[in-house]
């Protein structure tokens, strides 16, 4: 196809709007005499897009504030949480998901949860089967950043993702995803380094170059 429009090409946005409402007379006149823009319009009209269903984020159900059935499992989960906190030294605070890295500045670590097709960035609770991704946000620039993700729980430490080198930007996704099993609190930590692949030492929130987020189970495991 020749890519030469007879004058100034009609932007794709105008063509899309013309397909939606057909009101822009200037578009109709132009495409009547311009084969290139006419072909673009035909491309839009003939395109078939399979839209995946858009599921609204789940709203929390109202539940009775107290249920004896959960007392024992809740205490078990609390004990596990205490163990995790003892292992990692202290409880992560709100700001422990931020690390300052030489060469990249302030880096914010976040998590994205996918549950039955619903993607949420604003939650830190999990159920078995949830899939998690780690995202980082830092000021765009020429430098890149190495990220190594560790997941800690009472049983130990796991590295579910390969170390990745990323360019800074808004909510850049660390390649790969992982699941969290069990009914104990988990801490997801990212060790960040602008100079190379970070050394795999057990991370602690507050360590230089480490940013962590605590993930809690939504309900304790059945007894």
């Amino acid at each position: 196809m020749s890519a030469s429009c007879i004058s100034e090409p009609i932007s794709w946005l105008r063509l899309e709007r013309f397909v939606l409402d057909g009101r822009d007379a200037a578009v109709a006149i132009h495409v009547a005499s311009c084969a290139v823009c006419s072909a673009c319009l035909a491309e839009i009209r003939s395109d078939v897009v399979a839209l995946p269903p858009l599921v609204a984020p789940a709203t929390p159900e109202r539940k009775p504030w107290f249920n004896w059935r959960w007392v024992v499992p809740a205490m078990a989960a609390a004990a596990a949480a205490i163990v995790v906190l003892v292992i990692i030294g202290r409880e992560p605070t709100r700001h422990e998901h931020v690390a300052t890295i030489k060469g990249a500045g302030e880096v914010v670590v976040g998590v994205v949860r996918e549950r039955a097709g619903t993607i949420r960035r604003d939650v830190t609770t999990f159920l078995p089967g949830d899939r998690w991704k780690v995202v980082i946000t830092c000021a765009p620039g020429p430098s890149s950043l190495w990220v190594d993700v560790a997941v800690l729980d009472a049983a130990g430490i796991d590295y579910p993702l390969a170390p990745a080198q990323l360019s800074c930007g808004n909510e850049i996704v660390v390649p790969g995803a992982f699941e969290i099993t069990g009914s104990a609190v988990n801490v997801v930590c990212a060790r960040l380094d602008a100079d190379g692949i970070p050394v795999r030492e057990p991370p602690k929130p507050g360590d230089p170059g480490v940013a962590c987020i605590m993930l809690s189970p939504e309900r304790p495991a059945p007894p």
């Binding site: 090409p9 009609i10 946005l13 709007r17 939606l20 409402d21 839009i44 839209l51 993607i119």
Partner: protein, 169 residues
């Protein structure tokens, strides 16, 4: 550009907006990423994020800009970049109605420039050479003066020249 009547109705409700504008936005993302699968992911994730904070001001041009930003984030990720560059080889050649010094702006050039230019310049690059806006339309779309658009296009051309010089040496 006149606002679309159908579009205004859809803006009241994110589900309706998704049904009405989703295909247009996916096509737009596809033109940047040259991958329909990634384009669908970008648009779906955008609407999923916007559902809780939807307002009637989120019209098609606003979402167009949001899709540009999200696609650029996808390209910034080096893992995605390699995959997209590979897929671009098998994708149908773009029409390229508006070219940057006779060059069609594809994933390769966007990926090369995204490390050199800030978001503001990248948005102008995509608007002019992928979305095919005129400079006047682009100024209106981005809420900038025509002069600013011109300056940013000059800077983009300078960076492309530097890239070519580096490639040649």
């Amino acid at each position: 550009m006149e606002p679309a009547r159908k579009a205004d109705v859809a803006a009241q409700d994110p589900q309706g907006a998704y049904r009405s504008w989703g295909p247009a936005l996916i096509r737009k993302a596809d033109r940047i990423l040259r991958s329909r699968e990634d384009a669908v992911d970008v648009v779906h994730a955008l609407f999923a994020d916007l559902i809780p904070r939807w307002t009637t001001e989120m019209d098609l041009p606003y979402l167009y800009r949001a899709v540009t930003n999200r696609c650029l984030n996808v390209v910034r990720d080096r893992g995605n970049r390699a995959r997209l560059l590979e897929r671009e080889q098998s994708a149908a050649a773009p029409v390229g109605r508006v070219r940057l010094d006779d060059q069609i702006v594809g994933v390769g050039l966007i990926a090369a420039l995204v490390d050199r230019l800030d978001d503001a310049h990248m948005e102008v690059l995509v608007g002019r050479f992928v979305d095919d806006f005129t400079q006047e339309e682009l100024a209106e779309h981005l809420g900038l003066s025509r002069k600013t658009i011109g300056k940013r296009l000059d800077r983009i051309r300078d960076e492309v020249l530097k890239l070519r010089a580096e490639d040649a040496s």
